[in-house]
């Protein structure tokens, strides 16, 4: 069945609501309006106001309420419109959700799922376009996932709801309209474990989210030039699947991390650090990064495009890594 990323998420929410009566959905405009990115359209009619809950603009309170409800045994799905607004709820996420299980000596779990849109590409400027999922991946006590395919979007929500820990799901805004085949009975996808989306021998492109698709196109381009890139979709940013990355590196001996998030201290830094630590002797060249430029995302298309990785820049960076124009390896 051909469907969209948006519909895949909706179906996952629908499945969850049908499967488990402890599940409910809460967030701004998820009900009447149908969700700011139309992900939840129709669910209010289907499941009613008790389980599809429109909230006031109170990110901290409704995220915190999700934490409380999760501690009390329910399985809330909280939608925050975009990651930018989640900063208003960060106290609840970091100081409560991520700490209470440990602080309580394991007496209370927080089986909460928080979904949010992330990323640039829609000319929404500096307060709506950032990619902070890699930043969130710094926080112990959280699990951070970023599904890039319809299977993952559907299946990781399922697993997130079964996980006893708070899971943050990041949905890159440009993926919502993506169409692909999805089996009607597509099942759960584990939260950990990167996927090799394309096999290759000359370099490893490590990426996730919307950048995965750009990287795959770049890999095709590279193939026409005789360069076979292995493309790895991280899927989970916390925990990171070191084994898959290092195994790929052992094959290709070169790695380029592609991440729409800002470079300094982003998930790309962590991956490069781990590669340097664990894969140092496998490297034929320094690990490389292609990241979001360190600027608040600007509105005009030419500047927004220049601020995040694109097929051309990925292609160029990969080429430079494999066939350096400058200094020799």
């Amino acid at each position: 069945m051909t469907t969209t990323y948006r519909e895949a998420i909706k179906q996952a929410i629908r499945d969850a609501l049908n499967r488990d009566e402890r599940v409910f959905l809460m967030g701004e405009d998820v009900g009447r309006y149908g969700g700011c990115y139309a992900v939840t359209k129709g669910l209010l009619e289907e499941f009613g106001e008790a389980r599809i809950r429109d909230t006031p603009l109170s990110e901290s309170a409704f995220v915190g309420a999700g934490i409380g409800a999760a501690m009390a045994g329910l399985r809330p799905i909280v939608e925050i419109m975009t990651v930018n607004f989640s900063l208003l709820a960060l106290d609840q996420i970091v100081n409560n959700a991520a700490t209470i299980p440990h602080m309580s000596g394991g007496q209370f779990a927080v089986p909460l799922v928080i979904r949010m849109a992330t990323g640039a590409g829609r000319q929404l400027a500096a307060q709506h376009s950032h990619s902070l999922e890699g930043w969130y991946a710094h926080i112990p006590g959280l699990k951070i996932v970023a599904p890039a395919t319809l299977e993952d979007a559907r299946g990781m929500l399922w697993s997130a709801l079964e996980d006893p820990n708070p899971v943050l799901i990041f949905e890159q805004v440009n993926l919502y309209n993506m169409e692909a085949e999805l089996a009607a009975d597509a099942g759960a996808v584990p939260l950990c474990g990167a996927a090799v989306r394309r096999a290759g021998r000359d370099l490893s492109l490590v990426t996730y989210g919307a950048s995965l698709h750009k990287s795959l196109v770049a890999a095709q381009l590279l193939a026409t030039e005789g360069i076979e890139a292995e493309v790895i979709d991280l899927r989970s940013l916390r925990p990171l699947d070191d084994a898959t990355i290092m195994a790929s590196l052992a094959r290709t001996r070169r790695i380029l991390v592609v991440d729409e998030g800002w470079r300094s201290g982003g998930i790309s830094a962590e991956i490069c650090a781990r590669v340097a630590e664990q894969g140092f002797y496998d490297l034929d060249a320094p690990p490389a990064r292609l990241c979001g430029v360190e600027v608040p995302i600007p509105y005009p298309k030419h500047l927004e495009d220049a601020a995040i990785p694109q097929v051309e820049t990925i292609h160029a960076a990969a080429l430079e890594l494999v066939r350096p124009s400058g200094r020799s390896t």
């Binding site: 701004e28 405009d29 009447r32 309006y33 149908g34 700011c36 429109d54 909230t55 006031p56 603009l57 109170s58 990110e59 901290s60 309170a61 930018n84 607004f85 208003l88 829609r122 000319q123 929404l124 400027a125 500096a126 307060q127 709506h128 430029v293 360190e294 600027v295 608040p296 600007p298 509105y299 005009p300 298309k301 030419h302 500047l303 220049a306 601020a307």
Partner: protein, 328 residues
Amino acid sequence: MTAKPHLDREHARHLLGQMLRIRLFEERCAELYTQQKIRGFLHLYVGEEANAVGIACALSAADSIVSTYREHGHALARGIAMGPLMAEMYGKANGTSAGRGGSMHVFDRATRFYGGNAIVGGGLPLAVGLGLAEKLRGGAGVAVCLFGEGAVAEGEFHESLNLAALWKLPVLFVCENNLYAMGSAIERTESETAIFRKAESYRVEAHQVDGMDVVAVEVAALGALERIRGGAGPQFLECMTYRFRAHSMFDAQLYRDRAEVERWKERDPIRRFGDWATASGLLHVADIEALREAASAEVDAAVAFAEAGAWEPVEDLCRHTLMDAVPA
């Protein structure tokens, strides 16, 4: 004694002219959006013009404004030139923010317009800070903070109201209550729907105003500003208004009745004030036509200005991320 506007012919022309400028500007923006000249989110103010114009008329040059992502009306009423405003919508280098902000982030230092803020509630603390600066320096300026009723649920509303009231800061809080925050009707988001009463719970004097009546808004703003300048501390206005169009260009408006929209359109602030002004003999129909034509010509010129603008060079992408100096 309460300040009152002197409603002579000139002032009536001004009020109506300003509202017409905003209306025509935004109608053109909607067209330009469908032509993809304007991108991203576009939030139109159509129907709410009386608020911006009424408030702006009451302000002096020393006052400052903090606005939201629905700020075109505020910006025009404050005196930001239409050309740079339109260029900003395009994202051009000759835009108010050199194109970097777009529709939601209009800034203008010259008119003390402190932005266009796309975080709901995010502007309120800024306005408190502007008021604080004014108080610490002993200036006469007032910080005017405009926000929708949706912002009232945010914690930043609460913290800001308390701080401004506690410190008796010169801040005028203006809640434009258009009854909806995206698709959420106010009854679905507030346990107390009379917003001005909330303001009173901080011991802030608060009034509800007919936001479809430009004169009522101006009168209320003049009164509030007079009290602030007299040292009474922050004041609060709840302007009852309505947006005639969708929340943004992506909104099918399934959450409200067409009939409700039509009912409110009967109170269109432009038609209403125009009708009253002609009926009372203050303006002639021809005056109104002239104003409309002037506004239309101004919009044309603004579009031309925007079209002629250059793009910021890609090499300048990172410019202003860190500043080299505080602008003088």
